[in-house]
């Protein structure tokens, strides 16, 4: 089921409009402070700025004062949020109620990880937010002040410039409620709200608010309950938000399509693709920061690929020279085949590459195509099984008959 098409009939239609006079960040932080007070949650997981630095770290907090430096949408993605969740709940469920405010790609990665039994989502309220993207990590580190200024602009203009990371610039999944699973045409909009299989309970809408207000959008009864406990009415119309989201979505779809067409040209064929990875030093940073790469020990780090010296020598003799470390393309293509069906295009791989190889862009392109052929959208529907763990007899008939070779 592809959930990338957006149909405003399926989007939640009512929510709470909250004035953001004191700034969006402060407004959101205040809401969560209140939620702790009112005991909607026992603890909040949110990015917090590390004092005296420009770095952000995930903090699970009970102490409200820690929220003072919190920012639900920092200019950069440091640790992928799903990884933070995994370190918390891999070995079991939380007994306390947690609200986790994550970017859409981080939520989707978390849902994928829960399908791989790496995250237990019980007692975790996932709260998503409209995301305009993130700044390239190296740019931010080089000049945080400059990046912060640009990012402020990005939040206001939303997608009108491409100073964000390339995969963010082409991201068409920036507002999760527009991607909630479609149901049949027969059910009425109200029922659809209930029937949506939400990985999120609540969504913070920013689009259409013009920096003056934010939209708190409940996606299911639990979300509505949270708003109730926060003493917020959830019957305001979300028309402006819906309209703006559709508008930006259309734009992004176009941008993505064009970008991918161009990229495809650049990497198609063994020679071009290998050339892309010429500078790769096999540090495997991309794999290590990737939320979907969950293996305790990556196959490509294991001894499976270590051979005897004679083998290396004879391989070298075949071509005259043998490059080390070996198997650069094997690593990338192998990692791709293992994880690309769950790739959420979060781009942390590209941020982590010391050689500035456009890993995220390449993997996202392949992800789009492979996910489409399985009609699979990662991280949208908690119940949808992973394609590689699911056997359907009735699929891929097109590969059953060999094509005629002229």
């Amino acid at each position: 089921m592809t959930a990338t098409q957006i149909d405003s009939n399926k989007m939640p239609t009512k929510g709470a409009i909250v004035s953001a006079e004191e700034g969006i960040n402060k407004t959101i932080v205040d809401i969560f402070k209140k939620s702790l007070e009112k005991k909607c949650f026992d603890a909040i997981l949110i990015p917090v700025r590390v004092p005296e630095t420009e770095a952000y770290a995930w903090v699970l907090l009970k102490d409200q004062s820690l929220l003072d430096e919190a920012n639900p949408l920092p200019p950069i993605i440091s640790v992928q949020g799903a990884k933070a969740l995994r370190s918390l709940t891999k070995r079991g469920k939380m007994t306390q109620n947690i609200a986790a405010i994550l970017r859409p790609c981080e939520i989707r990665a978390a849902v994928e990880l829960s399908k791989l039994k790496q995250i237990h989502l019980d007692n975790i309220s996932l709260i998503s937010i409209d995301c305009p993207g993130a700044m390239p990590l190296s740019d931010y580190l080089a000049d945080p002040e400059k990046s912060k200024k640009i990012y402020k602009n990005v939040l206001e203009k939303w997608g009108e410039n491409n100073s964000v990371r390339p995969v963010c610039h082409i991201c068409n999944r920036f507002s999760l409620p527009s991607l909630l699973p479609r149901k049949s045409e027969e059910t009425s909009p109200v029922e659809q709200d209930e029937a949506n299989l939400p990985s999120i309970d609540l969504h913070i809408g920013l689009l259409g608010g013009n920096q003056e207000k934010i939209f708190l959008i409940p996606v299911n009864p639990k979300g509505r309950k949270i708003l109730e406990e926060l003493e917020l009415k959830s019957d305001d119309s979300l028309d402006i938000w819906q309209t703006k989201v559709s508008e930006v979505q259309d734009k992004k779809e176009k941008i993505r399509k064009e970008f991918n067409l161009e990229l495809k040209e650049k990497i198609e064929g063994q020679e071009k693709l290998t050339a892309m990875f010429n500078e790769c030093i096999n540090c495997h940073n991309c794999m290590r920061v990737c939320p979907i790469c969950y293996c305790q020990q990556c196959f490509f780090d294991s001894g499976a690929l270590t051979l005897s010296p004679e083998t290396y020598l004879s391989r070298s003799e075949k071509k005259g020279a043998l490059r080390f470390p070996l198997d650069t393309m094997l690593f990338h293509l192998g990692r791709m085949s293992h994880m690309v069906l769950s790739c959420v295009s979060c781009g942390v791989c590209e941020d982590a590459c010391p050689m500035s190889i456009p890993v995220a862009q390449i993997f996202s392109l392949v992800a789009d195509q492979t996910q489409k052929s399985f009609d699979y959208a990662p991280g949208i529907n908690k119940e949808e099984p992973l394609p590689l763990q699911d056997f359907l007899e009735d699929e891929f008939h097109e590969v059953e008959t060999p094509k005629e070779v002229n």
Binding site: A57, W58, L60, D63, K93, I281, S316, A321, F324, P354
Partner: protein, 369 residues
């Protein structure tokens, strides 16, 4: 005083001549060295077995994509090579290889080790920001004059062990003002001498330690002190550590790039460091807030304890760090102090055991008092 093979070619060409000689005469079955991958400066270590491919060899290129000691260890992990191979690597890479061999992670057998007095390497990103061409030309000037090249990696600018130990041959670069005309290859061992019988060039006697190398060493020691002192700008103690590692992503890239970190499954990547939710919840209660993933600094200190006694200050850790934390400087500082305590220089002598694996009754008696 050692025997020195003088080849009447510029140092880069001379090095290539040496390699060509070794391969064509079949004294070695293969050459392990840096090779050009494209015209944009990308280089990669390669095992070259056909003389034709030597055309692309750039053994002295001032870039280190990966620590070659780590590669050679992987090469000979299962067993020693059975044919002679010449390997060209830097001082720190060679020292790392020696340290790994002390831990049975490789074998020296059948290697002809060729090194050079090292002028340092440039940051990896000079390949991607296009500055490498300029830098490389600058490199030879600085090396000739025994000066620190301005854009060289901070780690290299602070490295005083640029004269390799345990190499069979050393190509002299630092302080050699006849770099463009002549290539001087110091033959440090009997093996080095045997393998160069019949090589194109003449043998003279020279000392590898010169006034120039001493000059550079002094400059580098100054830089080292400066670099280490800079670390103190964040203060000291836990607060300083938190600040220094504020941006750390716990990607463990530093560990994976480090030649000394050889564990197939690092303890910090294993289940030992995956905690029950209840542990997190208890800590949350106690502290009001916990950073996730946990153990950011714990990992670094743990890794330090495990490997810093053999840290050769190669700087790969800083190179691969996505958030520019000066890991190499931090680890070298601690490594330096620790190694001095044990009077141990990693990679100097293959017979010298790693201090952590040895017991001496008469040491650190001051602690007992």
């Amino acid at each position: 005083m050692s025997n020195v093979l003088k080849i009447k070619k510029g140092v880069e060409q001379g090095a290539n001549e040496l390699l060509k000689f070794l391969l064509e005469s079949e004294k070695v079955k293969g050459i392990f060295t840096l090779r050009k991958m494209n015209e944009n400066g990308a280089v990669s270590y390669s095992l070259i077995t056909h003389p034709k491919e030597l055309q692309n060899a750039v053994p002295l290129f001032p870039l280190m994509p990966v620590n070659a000691g780590k590669i050679l260890s992987g090469f000979t992990l299962k067993k020693a090579i059975n044919e002679p191979i010449a390997a060209v690597l830097r001082s720190c890479e060679l020292r790392a290889f020696i340290e790994l061999i002390k831990r049975t992670q490789g074998s020296l057998e059948n290697f002809l080790l060729i090194s050079s007095t090292c002028g340092g390497v440039y940051p990896l990103k000079s390949l991607t920001d296009g500055t490498y061409k300029e830098q490389v030309s600058q490199y030879w000037e600085s090396a000739k004059n025994a000066e620190i090249s301005s854009d060289i990696r901070p780690t290299c600018a602070a490295c005083e062990y640029f004269i390799p130990q345990q190499a069979d041959m050393t190509i002299a670069i630092v302080g050699k003002n006849d770099l463009q005309q002549e290539c001087s290859i110091f033959l440090n061992t009997k093996k080095g001498e045997e393998f160069t019988i019949g090589a194109p060039g003449n043998i003279v006697s020279e000392d590898i330690d010169t006034k120039e190398t001493a000059k550079l060493r002094e400059k580098r020691q100054e830089q080292k002190k400066k670099l280490f002192d800079e670390l103190e700008k964040n203060g000291s103690g836990i607060k300083a550590l938190v600040k220094t590692f504020a941006a750390c992503l716990s990607c463990h890239g530093c560990s994976k790039a480090c030649p000394i970190c050889y564990c197939t499954l690092c303890d910090f990547d294993s289940k030992t460091h995956e905690y029950l939710p209840s542990s997190h919840e208890i800590e949350l209660e106690q502290k009001g807030g916990i950073r996730l993933p946990p153990g950011t600094i714990f990992f670094h200190i743990g890794r330090m304890i495990h490997m810093v006694v053999s840290c050769v200050n190669c700087g790969m850790c800083s190179d691969v760090c996505p958030v520019n934390i000066p890991v190499s400087t931090i680890f070298s500082k601690v490594g330096d102090s620790l190694q001095k305590l044990f009077d141990y220089l990693p990679g100097k002598d293959i017979e010298e055991p790693v201090p952590f694996g040895t017991y001496k009754e008469e040491e650190f008696t001051e602690i007992g008092e």
